[in-house]
Structure formats: C-alpha cells, structure tokens
Symmetry: C2
Subunit: 438 residues, 2 copies
C-alpha cells in the first residue's frame, strides 16, 4: 500500500481503501510520511475518515491536521469526542489549539474546556462529559424512551448512572438489564446500588485497573460532592493501561518512556530518553573502578582472579534482574502490597540461596580443572553469596521505591546490575582473601 501512495496511483489506492478495514487504514496511515498521510486521508469518504482519524495516535492526528484544508480540519475537530479532542489539544502548539477551540460550536467548546481544566493524568481528562443519567423513580419504559431521544450524543449508554435531584450518584443500571426488564419496572428497583465510581481528580491508572479488575464497561466519575460529572469507557481504560505498560517496560529497560510511537520519535529524541540513565549508571559504575583499585595488590598476586570478574558480577546482575522484574510486576498488577515486605524478603532469600547453590555447583568442577580447587572454591562461594545478595536487593528495591512513591519499574535490570556489580566485587575479593589466605 505505501508503494501505491509513492506512485500516486489514486485508482489502485482507492480500491485498496475500499477493501481494507478502518483499523488497517489507520495502521497504514500511521506509517506514512505526513504529506503522504494527508494525500491518502483525503481519499477517504467522510464517515470513514472520521473513524480512521479517531483510531490514530494524537501525534499523527496533529500532523494530519496540518496537511488538510481549514474547513476539513474544523469539521473533523467538531466531530471528535470531547475526551479525544482534549487529548489532541495537549499535543498541539498552544496557538493552534486556541484557534481551533475558538472555531468549535459553543456546546462542544464548553465540553472540551471543562475537560482541559482537570489536571493531566486525572480521570477528568479521559472521561466523557456527555453522559445520560436516569432517575430512580422513572420506569424502564420511560428510561428507554429518554435514551432514544438523547442517547445518540452520549459516548456510552451501556452503563447508565442513576442520580438523585442534586445529581448525586445513587446507582448504576446496565443497558442490558434495562432492555431485558419489564417496561413497567422502576429504574430504582433494577439498578445496582453496590456502585463502583471514581473521583474526577483520581489517577487514570488507578481507575483503569479498577475497571479491568471489576470487569466494567464504564465507570461513573463524580466530583468532591459525589455529583456525577462524566463517565470513563473501557476502551479508554485499555488505552491507559497500554500506555502505563509502555512506560513501565521502558523504565524496566533503563530508559525514559517514548512520548510518541517509535517511528515518530527522532534519533535525537530516542537518545534523549536513554542518555540520563546511561550517564547515571556509568557514574555509579565508577564504584567498580574504585573497588578494583583497592584490591589491585590482590589482583597482582593472583592474576587468575581477573578471569572470573565478568562472570561473577554478571550472574549477580542476572539474578537481581529476575527478582526485580518479578516483584515489580506483582506490585503493578496488585498481587503484592508494600506491606508484604517481610514475606517477600523471606521467599526471595530462599530462592536466592537455591539458585546460588545451583550456580555454585555448576561452576565448581570446570573451574577446578581450568585453574585449581582453591580458585574453584572462591568462585563457587562467591556465586552463592552474590546470587543471594542480588536476589534480595532486586526484590527489596522495588518495594522500597513503591513505598517512597516512585514507580517501582525504575528499579530496572540495568540499575540493579550496576548496583550489585560493586558489592559483588567486594564480596569476591573478601572471599578470595579468606580462602587463598592472601
């Protein structure tokens, strides 16, 4: 398909667009250059264009708008859902955003400005303010009638919040239960009063995880006085979880998260996400230089000790990464709480000893044959000690980070490795001195 665009083969391109699903169209659009993207986008019929536009990443939406005529831009912007529009505005230069917002119809402008007033990463930013609420004393039939009249503008009608006269949330009724009910039944008798809800200033990840764990299609959002202000839908929750996941993964690899899709980030931008941690880690690594400097005399006496330096500290780093990754994930999905420290430490210590003993056993014979029995004893004992130590450190640091309010994922594999490198060396030389009697 990119070849068709490159060749400007409009006929073949039109044919391809007609046959492809909107998702495929959006996927291909995301991979085109901004100018090719605009050309291709203009070939789409109006309703499919909006659908494809909504599936694009905000950065691509923003690039696309720059390549379209003013009237198309205004129309697209007007037709978007308020929460998607707010996300796009975040991406734009302030001046462009202001101009576009000014061109909106008063209704849409008010809805969007309200969302933009909430702090970043709060529920308020992703919720849809267009929510249909029911009253407890309505009948199911009346409620359905009301839905037919005003439901079309709401982002979801699958979960219908029920409110009192002060717009306070008293229950939630699923559209399914409403449809299946006898039309004469009162909404108050049908609704679920054991209601999941979230505050408008709550963190997005928290509410997305709640929706996932409780299997919710939509979550009502209330203000500080428990009044209904909006609703978050499950597709937004999935997107939030994917973004959080991408952040966690990046941090676990020792880099800051990318703000845009990989191919939309420049080489300089990629380097920027990695350089800080890389510099921090190399500064931390100077500790190993110092440790080796201190034990230089020992190394001079037994040059063979040098041979096992990378192996010994590498194994420590690996055991530490494994443990850190496991505990970080268990924290992220809620299987562990910070109060479980003692439990986790006890388990991981035993795992560390077990793994260390296996590595020690594996290393003993080859080292004995390669060097001698005393060196083999040094390497094996060090592996046992370093592996246990690294597993402990790797499990403790994420718990500590969480308790201090950081993202546990910053306790990444590279970070743990660097940290246990210097300690591992000290352990190695102390054991060597003791066993070899230097």
């Amino acid at each position: 398909m990119p070849e068709l665009v490159a060749k400007r083969d409009v006929m073949a391109l039109n044919e391809w667009l007609a046959g492809a699903s909107t998702l495929d169209v959006a996927d291909e659009l995301a991979r085109l250059s901004p100018s090719d993207r605009a050309i291709t986008f203009r070939l789409l019929p109006k309703d499919r264009a909006l659908e494809a536009f909504e599936l694009l990443d905000p950065i691509h939406q923003q690039e696309l708008l720059e390549g379209l005529r003013d009237s198309s831009v205004r129309q697209l912007f007007e037709d978007m859902d308020p929460d998607d529009r707010a996300r796009l505005v975040d991406e734009m230069p302030a001046k462009v955003a202001k101009q576009l917002l000014a061109g909106l119809s008063p209704r849409e402008r008010t809805l969007t400005s309200r969302l933009l007033g909430y702090p970043e990463n709060s529920a308020g930013r992703v919720m849809s303010p267009e929510v249909v609420n029911l009253k407890a004393n309505q009948t199911a039939g009346d409620a359905l009638e009301r839905l037919r009249r005003i439901g079309a503008s709401a982002e979801t009608i699958y979960a219908l919040p029920v409110t009192d006269d002060a717009r306070r949330l008293v229950g939630v009724l699923g559209l399914r239960d409403l449809v299946l009910a006898d039309p004469a039944t009162k909404v108050g008798d049908l609704m679920d009063t054991d209601v999941y809800k979230a505050r408008v200033d709550q963190d997005q990840e928290e509410i997305a995880r709640l929706m996932q764990e409780a299997d919710l299609l939509a979550l009502p959002i209330v203000d500080t006085e428990d009044r209904l202000v909006g609703i978050v839908t499950v597709d937004d929750a999935m997107q939030i979880l994917e973004e959080e996941q991408t952040e966690d993964v990046a941090r676990a690899g020792g880099a800051e998260p990318l703000e845009h899709p990989y191919l939309s980030v420049s080489v300089l931008g990629l380097a920027r996400t990695r350089v800080v941690w890389l510099l921090v880690l190399i500064v931390a690594a100077t500790l190993t230089v110092n440790v080796l400097h201190v034990f230089e005399a020992t190394l001079d006496q037994v040059v063979a000790l040098t041979l096992f330096i990378p192996l010994v500290i590498g194994s420590g780093g690996n055991a530490g990464s494994q443990s850190a990754t496991t505990v970080t994930r268990a924290l992220a999905v809620g299987e562990l709480r910070t109060s479980d420290v003692a439990l986790v430490v006890l388990r991981e210590a035993r795992v560390g000893v077990l793994l260390g003993a296996m590595l020690a056993a594996l290393a003993f014979l080859p080292t004995m044959l390669f060097i001698d029995a005393r060196m083999a004893a040094v390497v094996s004992l060090t592996l046992l000690a370093v592996c246990t130590l690294a597993t402990l450190v790797g499990s403790l640091l994420p718990l500590l980070a969480r308790r201090l309010g950081f993202d546990p994922a910053v306790m990444s594999a590279p970070f743990i490795s660097t940290l246990v490198d210097a300690t591992g060396l000290v352990v190695y030389f102390l054991i060597a001195k003791a066993v070899l009697g230097i």
Copy 2:
C-alpha cells in the same frame, strides 16, 4: 481483615464483608490461606459469593472448591460462565474435573465440553458460546423482543451478530444502535457490514489486540466456514492482554513467566522459573573467562586495564538493554514490523554512536586524571565502540527473534548483557593493544 479471619471474629467479619465491594472481597480472599479462604467465602450471601468467585484467579477458585461442601461446589460450577468454567477446568486434576463436569446440567456440560475441544490459547477457549444472533430481515422491534426472551443467558448482548440462514456472519449490530433505532427499521439496514471477526482457532493475543485497537466491546468468532460459533467480550480481552504482558515482562527480566499469582507460587516454583535462564547465561558467560584468558599477557603488562572491565562491559550491557526493550515494545504494540529492519538498524546505529560519544566524552577527563591520557583514550574509544555495537545488537535481536517465530521478549536485558560482555572485552583489548602499542 485478615486479622478478623485469624481471630475467627465472625460478627466483625460479616460486617466487613457487607461494607466492602465485591472486588475488595475477592482481593482479600486471594490473599488468605486456602482454609481461611473457604471459611470466609462461606459467610458470603449466595449471589455475592458467585460474583466474588468469578473475580478470583483459577488457582484460587480451584483451592476454594476443595474447601467447600459438594453441594455448594456443584452449584458454583453450574452457575459459572462456560468460558470461565473451561479456564477453571484447565487448572484442576483431570479426575476432579471429570467428576465436576459429570455433575453439570446437560446444557452447561455441552457448552463447556465444546470450548474444551479447542486448542489452548485459541479464541475458542475464551469465547462465550451463548450468543444471541439476529436476522437481517427482522425489525428492530422484533429484535428487542427476542432479546427480552432469550438475552438473559447470553454473556453479552452489547454486540449482536447478524447471521444468514446458514448461520454465516453478515453483519454486527450494537445494542446501542438497536435501542436508539425506530422499532420499524429492519436490522439489515441498521447493522454494520464492515465487520471485525476472528477465527475460532486464532491466537488469543491477536484477537485481544485487535479488540483493543479497534475499540470493540465484543468480537464475533466464526469457524472455518464463516459460521458464527461464539463471541469474545472485552473483559476477556483485557485479561488476555494482562497475561501476555506478564509473560513479556518476565521474559524481559530473563525468567520464565509465573503460572500463578506471585504469592501462590512456592519458593521452588519461583526458582524453577529462573534457573534455566540463569544457567544458560552463566554458561554463556564462560566466554568472558576465555577472552580474558587469551589476553592475560596484556593484562599482566598493564594491570590498570583490569580496573575498567566492569565499567566498560556494564555500559555496553545497559545501552543494549535500552535498545532491546524499546524495539521489543514497539513490536509488541504493532508500531514496528519485522520488515522495518533496515529502518530500525539505521536509526539505532545513530542513537548508539550518539550515546557512545557522550559516554566517551564523560569518561575521558576523570580517567586521564586517575591514570593517564593514553588509558583515557582506550576507555573512551571502547565506550564509543561498545555502546554502538550493543545498541545495534539490542535492536536487531528482537527483530530477528520475531522473524524466527520466537517471542522477542526472550531477547532480554540479561541475555543482551551477557552476549555483549564477551564481544565488549575483545573490543576493549584490541583497542588497548592498538593505542598502547603492546
């Protein structure tokens, strides 16, 4: 709350249960010991018990069933959704499963056995076979009437597949559009014919990602002849994505995924998920011993070279992890395809040079002051070379793994580090020989 259970304070426990949300109850149940869990579970009223049971992990469901009376077990098992039941059966000893399946009503037994007939990780295993399908020539009013009659047993009615007389899928109608439509309109005129669907033998992760990207609440599942056999709902998709994510994260940390929640895995089980990779990596690390052995004479001549071994190979490992993590994630979320190799390599090579140059610049002056200018040149040049090399290797290996059909996440930080350690050492000594003229 665990204290209340420990004290067997039934009154306080009942009070806590009445006030907590079902999700909180399930969370706490998951953290109790199997016997405490059974005791607490029996205090729940019947409908809440089923809800809480459905929120539990299959391993906890299975443990719980062991602690309950036969009649309660049969009832719970009968009331579960067929797809959840199939997941639970996977967890059970074959004998227990057979017995329980035999106790089911014929209808539920047929539904479950059909699901169990599909291969593991296929769409068939997670879909709900109880799906309400409409006909194109029905009116919206008739369709709603049909829903009222038979909709209660279906897992979802939010997306309604429309089929022809041979049960072949011809469209999908959202409940929302059905409710909002004029009752006299034909289903055929309301339905969406640009339909997303999946084959019953397709991989679960694929379909979950499709649902996420296309923002679907439910996805119709068809057999090889395009006949409707079931439907997958968004809550199952979210769960699949979370499980896949947990697998990827574990592999990225150099361990095999845990099969159960962290606290339900024994110390031996934890060690088992980590030992294989740890052993593979230590065997790979013997390469570094050999490299150092080869260059032992060089080390003897310039002992100062030893000082920088951990720093130089550590920096390479870190740069490689960063790059591998970034590319692996971009592949997982579909931002990159394996055909993008050339593009990625070009970008990452430039990022590597950039980062290497910065590390080199940072390291030069301190090394000059600490040792001398020639040693500083060796360290800086090595950092530049190793960083570039590691970034390249780190970006290439995940792409290669994917092309060969492996999970790119096995190209983990520990794996990349171990791999570039030996190469990094060779580069280091070659540069040292050239610069120092040994």
